[in-house]
């Protein structure tokens, strides 16, 4: 009402605010209490959602505000790189909600879906607590602080910031860390796809169809209708649905089903070949269209899953804690709850890989400095929520089914006594019926997390379609979920191989400048081949491992990802100290200390544990010499030892150079020089 003065009651508003936030905090506490105090009785997924959402809301309202306003003093009067360096391509001032969607699409990958599913072997409680608390004090803090640091440095990358703010050694270490994590990441996600598509003609046919669909989309977007991504993606999505339906026909046709049924090693060879070709081909032909297709599918499926879970609110069948939390001999992943639950769930709680996005495209698109809070912190909260949904999907499965699916026959035999005592049993007949309902030949020993997540999602989706009066279409939902997971895993593989190729070309370009030319084909082929050989070897090793491969590769991936997070937090801490904000350094040092403790403990146990289900050296010693593949298996386990020790060494090295830098600056032996770009008044100030 114009002209009417607005009356203000600051005390009433303050009391109302205290009451509101107190109520949200109390509701969250009630959610946690219900989850934590349940012993045997069925718990509804609603409590898990309530605990998570209340914690996110409180964390965002108070902690992210504190970091944005007190620690970094974000200021909308200061022009962002997007405003100062605007070029209409990568430096583009963008509405904060649009950028939120863009940032979320960039950070969300298979990690927050698969990690929680694997960690469900400890029960639903440990993984959920780590997802929810870890993100508020760790993962979202890392994303926000790195985004703020890069924002004030023209959108510089993590490696560049490490080099400028710490020293050249830290810069090289950061670059090597990215390369290592890339190799292990690609191997482990490729293994997930292999395990999901093994003996699955329906799944393999659908995924194989995505290659010609992507090529068609690429031609559409680049040559026929340049830049028409929406049109091409709609056509691609329609063809994808046809491929999904066609997969059902293929699976039911004896000759076609045989043509699309392959063993693990054969599928591994196909994926290795695909990764190489995708890296060598022009980017528009395969990589970009597949990326758009997977982004649309990812966002829509996550939204559908969230709505479906909210509609159904399914009960959790997995107990809060399983015997494997304390025994450390879990059939899915070896090792006790600490540190392995925190390694198993990396993305969703804290993911070092996000620091590459937060210091990549996102800082170049922020229109206002204070938008960083929503994008950096809020974006990571959403990823954690995706992880919580994956946990719910896995824990709605009967525990017997969950363990039968995620365990190899060898590991199942070892854990059979504990599984039987805990009541986690399932009959072969029940597994046969389940496989039939999902349109698969078998679901036993389908390790890697993707198939069990797909079964959980299929049950949830089918529950909704059943409620809405339609047919349940469980098999179709199962293969839709597999297609959804495999599609963006393959996008990670082709994009990762290509980025790894660029990094290798850049590194070797310092020695031989001709090799650094990213469009020189001999260099493209050699560098692509080297990167593919790197992750391909670990993939093959995982495929032929009698324990399933995930058992040793996933912890290595978790350690590598947390290592990168440690690099990011070291950089952020150094910048805070140099900014004269050492009193706030605990914001980044707390998650850093936790990560170092987790990474080093997990690395040590993975290498030196005398338990042959966990320790790599013990595993190598336990290999039967009469086994014809004994020499190869021993070599593989020892190679994993070298990789784990390398990761640990990198952590120690980086921590040492960072602590030295902090000490030099704090003791005034070295001037605190920050490399921020100077203040320029924003044209948006006051808008």
């Amino acid at each position: 009402m114009p002209g009417k003065p607005r009356r203000s009651f600051p005390l009433v508003r303050r009391a109302g605010s205290i009451l509101l936030w107190g109520a949200i905090a109390a509701l969250g506490a009630l959610g946690f209490a219900t989850l934590a105090l349940s012993r045997g009785e069925s718990v509804n997924a609603a409590w898990l959602l309530i605990a998570a959402v209340c914690t996110y809301v409180v964390g965002y309202r108070f902690y992210s505000k504190f970091i944005a306003e007190r620690v970094f003093a974000l200021d909308d009067r200061r022009a962002t790189p997007a405003e100062r360096l605007s070029n209409g391509r990568d430096y583009v001032p963008t509405n904060k909600w649009v950028l939120y969607g863009h940032h979320f699409a960039a950070i969300a990958g298979p990690g927050p879906l698969v990690g929680p599913v694997l960690a469900a072997q400890f029960g639903f409680l440990p993984g959920t607590l780590w997802l929810v608390i870890g993100v508020v004090v760790g993962g979202a803090v890392q994303d926000l602080t790195i985004l703020c640091c890069s924002l004030r440095r023209d959108g510089k990358s993590l490696g560049q910031m490490a080099k400028e703010e710490i020293n050249a050694t830290a810069g090289v270490t950061a670059m090597l860390a990215v390369l290592f994590i890339m190799i292990i990441l690609l191997a482990v996600v490729a293994l997930i796809v292999v395990n999901a598509l093994k003996a699955s003609p329906w799944g393999l046919f659908t995924i194989a169809c995505t290659i010609p669909i992507a090529v068609l989309m690429g031609w559409w977007m680049r040559t026929w209708r340049p830049g028409k991504v929406g049109e091409a993606s709609l056509a691609g999505a329609a063809l994808l649905l046809l491929a999904l339906l066609g997969g059902g026909y293929v699976a039911g046709h004896p000759a076609l089903a045989a043509a699309f049924t392959h063993s693990g090693p054969a599928l591994a060879a196909m994926i290795i070949g695909y990764g190489f070709v995708a890296s060598v081909l022009p980017v528009w032909m395969l990589l970009t269209p597949r990326d758009y297709l997977s982004t649309f599918l990812k966002i829509s499926t996550v939204l559908i899953l969230a709505v479906a879970i909210l509609l159904l609110l399914p009960p959790l069948k997995m107990p809060a804690l399983t015997p494997f939390a304390t025994r450390g001999e879990g059939p899915v992943l070896a090792g006790k709850l600490f540190p392995f639950a925190f390694i198993t769930i990396a993305c969703g709680a804290i993911s070092g890989f996000h620091s590459l996005i937060a210091s990549g495209t996102t800082p170049k698109m922020l229109a206002k400095e204070r938008d960083a809070r929503l994008i950096g912190y809020g974006g990571m909260l959403m990823e954690s929520f995706v992880g919580v949904m994956a946990m719910i999907a896995a824990c709605t499965l009967d525990p017997g089914v969950y363990f039968a699916m995620n365990t190899t026959p060898a590991a199942l035999a070892q854990a059979s006594h504990v599984l039987g005592t805990a009541g986690f049993v399932v009959t072969p007949d029940a597994m046969r019926q389940l496989a039939q309902a999902m349109g698969e030949q078998t679901l036993i020993a389908r390790t890697g997390g993707a198939p069990s997540l797909a079964v959980g999602m299929a049950h949830i989706f089918a529950g909704v379609t059943s409620v809405l009066g339609g047919k349940t279409l469980t098999a179709l939902w199962y293969h839709f979920a597999i297609m959804f997971e495999a599609l963006f895993i393959l996008t990670t593989i082709d994009a990762g191989t290509r980025v790894g190729r660029f990094m290798l070309q850049e590194i070797l370009g310092h020695v031989w400048p001709r090799f650094g030319a990213t469009s020189w084909y001999p260099s493209v082929i050699v560098a692509s081949g080297a990167i593919v050989a790197g992750w391909g070897y670990f993939l093959y090793q995982g495929v032929v491992d009698p324990l399933g491969g995930i058992n040793s590769l996933w912890p290595l991936f978790g350690i590598a990802n947390q290592l990168l997070a440690a690099v990011a937090l070291c950089v952020a801490t150094t910048i805070l100290i140099k900014m004269g904000k050492a009193r706030f350094a605990w914001v980044t040092v707390t998650p850093l200390a936790w990560l170092v403790a987790v990474t080093m403990t997990a690395g040590w146990q993975l290498v030196f544990s005398p338990n042959a289900t966990l320790g790599l050296l013990a595993r190598a010693a336990a290999v039967d010499p009469a086994d014809p593949s004994a020499a190869q298996r021993i070599f593989n386990y020892r190679l994993d030892v070298v990789v784990a020790l390398l990761f640990m060494t990198v952590v120690v090295m980086l921590l040492a150079v960072s602590i030295r830098e902090w000490w030099l600056v704090l003791s005034k032996r070295k001037p605190a020089v920050v490399h921020e770009t100077p203040f320029v008044e924003s044209a948006y100030a006051g808008n």
Partner: protein, 69 residues
């Protein structure tokens, strides 16, 4: 009020659709030639790239960014 979507002027209803399209394009990281033209106009210089060249450069640049795990 009219906006320009590429080289094609669009009216009020088309403007809303075009705006939605631009939001979606930005979210999925798709090329936006109209934004490039607007940038050139605001910066006071002629566009350096034709639409097809812009799209090619955009895709090349996009292919150098990692996808998260």
């Amino acid at each position: 009020m009219q906006e320009t979507e590429g080289r094609r002027p669009v009216g009020r209803s088309g403007g809303r659709l075009a705006r939605l399209g631009r939001i979606l394009r930005r979210i999925v990281g798709a090329p936006d030639y109209a934004a490039y033209l607007e940038h050139c106009h605001a910066a006071g210089h002629e566009p350096r790239l034709m639409e097809q060249e812009y799209v090619r450069e955009f895709f090349e640049h996009k292919g150098k960014a990692p996808r998260c795990c």
